[in-house]
């Protein structure tokens, strides 16, 4: 039985600090199959892949490659065993040529010197093999993302990979490029290479894959041949039996206009006007880079505003730096919590009290007891799970880190709360909690601006949705239209691509 598989792992567990990322997971891969991994964010797919290529060490469990015990010390080691991974973010050296990239670390040499001519010839040969028309001497920085990805794939395969792992390979490709990628994947399959394919896009999985393994909350749920399953079954396996209501939108009374902007222009957005009322959740939808986040960053004083007017409770305000926005009662949860949200090596307490330390200061000194008490209260209110308030932020799970970011901004007693991707990389449970909190805050009269790339979230949580396309608001959708079915994911998506 075991002989049928090119790769298998059993009982793999992995802990990060106190939290379990993988729990007795198993995974089996046949030669020449395209095997999809499906699961929500934080389900453990990426962790398992990182264990396979040696980026993480498993805490328990065994792996076998072609029936022999296998363990990689690092990705290079994995590559020598014939396992390569193509990461979601491509690792491109912009100054290398295509040939140099493909044969990085495996250059042809004459004695101690490089032999670029021979490397280029070799590269040309593999490029031809994949029918990929790019000169081996082209610099990587001249390529499109899709082309660079092809180079990565060719590199992976050219060192006799038996298994290629692709993590969300289509996330930055358009549909033509995706088709080309699929053609390449099928070609790999014909050559007997196994592909592990991680994607959130169900359509793609049904188009390209043979087998699907489902993960949930760090656990292996099951494996199904594509022919014997359907979308609904997969979704219910992903979500589990207890389907949480993750969009518990409670309608509350919408009051007066709290915050209003008129004719905002800046880098990445033009002529933006909107207003948000007390108790309202105003959703912003649009493709990444369409100007949603850019607008909010400029409003909050992180980027310069070229023109336009801001009004808070009817009075015109000017915000040149974030401190001013905070003083006025505007809070902003940034889209990337690791980059803009938290000081990961500082304690939960310090992170929470950071934006409003002034309020806990007496004379020159921070009132440490009061600080601890108030931060603890806020953390408890948001159900932050942490060993102590002195624990460093990195020791918390993604969901709890995000709650710390929320707690930190709640401490500033905002009137307007801007949430940019508040549930990115957060597990289902925490997601539901954060949504619940948003409703509570709205009920208390806060004006909430919600930016999200997840359409179900925007549709499920917003009283009103503004849709961005190329830096402008091109449409708005009311909650009633969503509830009546007049507007749905398809129609909003169409708007996002500029079709009104």
């Amino acid at each position: 039985m075991g002989e049928d598989y090119i790769f298998e792992c059993q009982n793999i567990s992995k802990y990060f600090g106190g939290s379990k990322a993988l729990k007795n997971v198993e995974f089996h891969l046949k030669p020449g199959e395209i095997h999809a991994l499906l699961g929500e964010n934080g389900a453990g797919k990426s962790t398992l892949m990182k264990i396979i290529v040696g980026l993480y060490k498993p805490d328990t469990g065994t792996m076998k490659l072609e029936g022999k015990p296998y363990r990689a010390n690092d990705p290079y080691d994995a590559m020598r065993h014939g396992i390569s991974m193509i990461h979601q973010e491509l690792n491109i050296e912009p100054h290398l040529s295509v040939a140099e990239s493909i044969f990085l670390n495996r250059e042809d040499t004459v004695g101690p010197f490089l032999n670029p001519k021979k490397t280029n010839e070799r590269a040309q040969k593999v490029l031809d093999q994949f029918d990929f028309h790019v000169s081996p001497t082209t610099l990587m920085e001249k390529l499109t993302i899709a082309q660079a990805q092809m180079v990565e794939i060719i590199r992976a395969v050219s060192c006799d990979a038996k298994i290629v792992i692709m993590d969300e390979p289509t996330s930055s490709l358009d549909s033509n490029e995706t088709e080309r990628l699929f053609a390449t994947i099928r070609q790999l399959k014909q050559q007997g290479v196994s592909v592990i394919y991680i994607s959130h896009r169900m359509e793609e999985i049904f188009e390209i894959c043979d087998t699907i393994s489902i993960f949930r909350d760090g656990q292996y749920i099951g494996t199904k041949p594509l022919a014997e399953t359907n979308k609904n079954e997969l979704v219910s396996m992903m979500v589990g039996h207890e389907v949480l209501n993750i969009f518990p939108k409670v309608d509350c009374e919408i009051g007066q206009t709290v915050f209003k902007v008129e004719g905002l222009c800046g880098k990445g957005f033009t002529d933006i006007s909107f207003e948000v009322h007390a108790g309202e959740i105003l959703g912003f939808s649009g493709l990444v880079g369409s100007g949603r986040s850019e607008t909010m960053r400029a409003i909050f004083g992180l980027d310069p505003l070229e023109s336009g007017h801001l009004y808070l409770n009817g009075e015109e305000i000017r915000i040149r730096e974030p401190q001013k926005a905070i003083d006025l009662g505007i809070a902003m949860v940034n889209e990337d919590r690791k980059l803009f949200g938290l000081c990961l090596n500082r304690s939960v307490k310090e992170n929470i009290s950071l934006p409003n330390l002034r309020a806990r200061q007496k004379g020159l000194f921070i009132q440490s007891k009061r600080e601890l008490r108030e931060c603890t209260e806020m953390a408890e209110k948001l159900h932050v799970k942490t060993a102590s308030m002195d624990a460093e932020a990195y020791s918390l799970s993604g969901g709890n880190q995000q709650k710390v970011v929320l707690a930190k901004w709640m401490m500033t007693n905002p009137k307007v709360l801007i949430l940019d991707e508040p549930t990115r990389g957060v597990d289902v449970g925490a997601k539901a909690e954060i949504h619940m909190l948003m409703c509570q805050l709205a009920a208390q009269g806060l004006a909430i601006i919600l930016i999200s790339s997840e359409l179900p979230e925007v549709l499920g949580m917003s009283d009103r949705i503004l849709i961005y396309h190329e830096g402008r608001i091109i449409n708005s959708v009311m909650r009633e239209q969503v509830l009546s079915g007049e507007a749905d994911q398809m129609s909003v998506l169409n708007n996002m691509f500029g079709n009104v």
């Binding site: 974030p322 090596n345 500082r346 950071l354 000194f365 921070i366 990195y394």
Partner: protein, 325 residues
């Protein structure tokens, strides 16, 4: 009942676990002292302890400044030159018959000003701290030579010697009190004020600090200004001890200050450090130098050993960090 529990858990304002994580280095110090007590009878003599204290005072003041700069994600290589500048400024002040307080204030102000300039260059022009202070070290050293015309001069004011050589009650050197005073100020500044919290935030994640409304540029600038002030204090003690205004003193002092911070648990990645840890780091360096002298280690070997020691402490720090992660 509840209160005793609090007392049990909280030690110097932290849980016992965090205490060991932060100050575990103290056991290395105790071990070293223990070994020295056994192998060298001279180690425990009053004169020897005195000499350790005097060397710790100068290096210590520098490290107390450096820890702010490194914590905020920077580095200052110009402090050796700042020592020379202090020395020269004091010489000039006394040559002009200025009283001691004026000489002290003038020299500290001068160094603070140069620190401030370092800070502005780093924060406003977004230059690399390493490059900025590598260059300003030449500027400051040059300024010291220009002011003094390249000449060393002895200091005529007799009572100024008290700062570096005097003893309180004929037992404890005055300079150690200056160092301790500065340490208390540094502790309060870093651990009990908003400024200190901002220093940690800027070093921990500068983008998050900006997004939290912190005026990051000012925080960075003030860490360098504070470094300058500390260098001024160190320079005063040093000048008093050598009893001369010399434009060529102080080279290599930045290494010891940086090493003390690193040994004391300051992370070069920024955002991690403590004042008590830094003080322990300083004392460890003092004991190592002293120990090597007492054991008659050749001074060339001493230098090499010092380097090896810094690397070992960083490796240890890395290891501890990895285990935590």
């Amino acid at each position: 009942m509840n209160q005793t529990k609090m007392k049990d858990r909280q030690f110097l304002g932290m849980t016992r676990e965090t205490f060991f994580k932060k100050y575990g280095i103290i056991f290395i110090l105790l071990l070293m002292v223990g070994i020295m007590l056994v192998v060298s009878p001279t180690f425990r003599t009053y004169n020897n302890v005195l000499s350790i204290m005097q060397s710790v005072a100068v290096n210590g003041c520098l490290a107390l400044g450096m820890v702010f700069v490194i914590t905020a994600g920077g580095i200052d290589l110009s402090i050796g030159s700042q020592l020379a500048l202090t020395s020269v400024v004091i010489g000039c002040a006394f040559a002009a018959n200025a009283p001691i307080p004026v000489a002290i204030i003038a020299s500290i102000a001068m160094c603070t000003a140069f620190g401030f300039i370092n800070g502005l260059l780093v924060s406003r022009l977004k230059l690399f701290p390493f490059v900025v202070t590598l260059a300003t070290q030449l500027v400051i050293r040059g300024a010291a030579y220009i002011i003094s015309d390249g000449k060393a001069s002895s200091i005529t004011n007799k009572s100024f010697r008290t700062i570096g050589m005097g003893k309180v009650g004929d037992v404890i050197p005055v300079c150690i009190f200056i160092f301790l005073g500065l340490a208390v100020i540094a502790f309060i500044l870093l651990h009990c004020t908003k400024f200190g919290r901002f220093v940690y935030a800027v070093g921990g994640n500068i983008n998050a600090a900006i997004a939290s409304g912190i005026k990051v540029k000012w925080v960075q600038t003030f860490t360098y200004a504070w470094m300058g002030a500390c260098a001024g204090v160190a320079g005063i003690i040093l000048t008093s001890r050598i009893n001369a205004a010399q434009p060529n003193i102080g080279s290599g002092y930045e290494t010891d200050a940086i090493a003390a911070c690193v040994i004391g648990g300051t992370s070069f990645a920024g955002g991690i450090s403590t004042i008590p840890g830094t003080i322990i780091g300083i004392i460890i360096i003092g004991v190592i130098y002293n120990g090597m002298n007492l054991l008659q280690v050749n001074s060339y070997y001493q230098m090499a050993l010092k380097g090896i020691l810094i690397i070992l402490s960083v490796v240890l720090d890395n290891y501890l960090n990895k285990r935590r992660g």
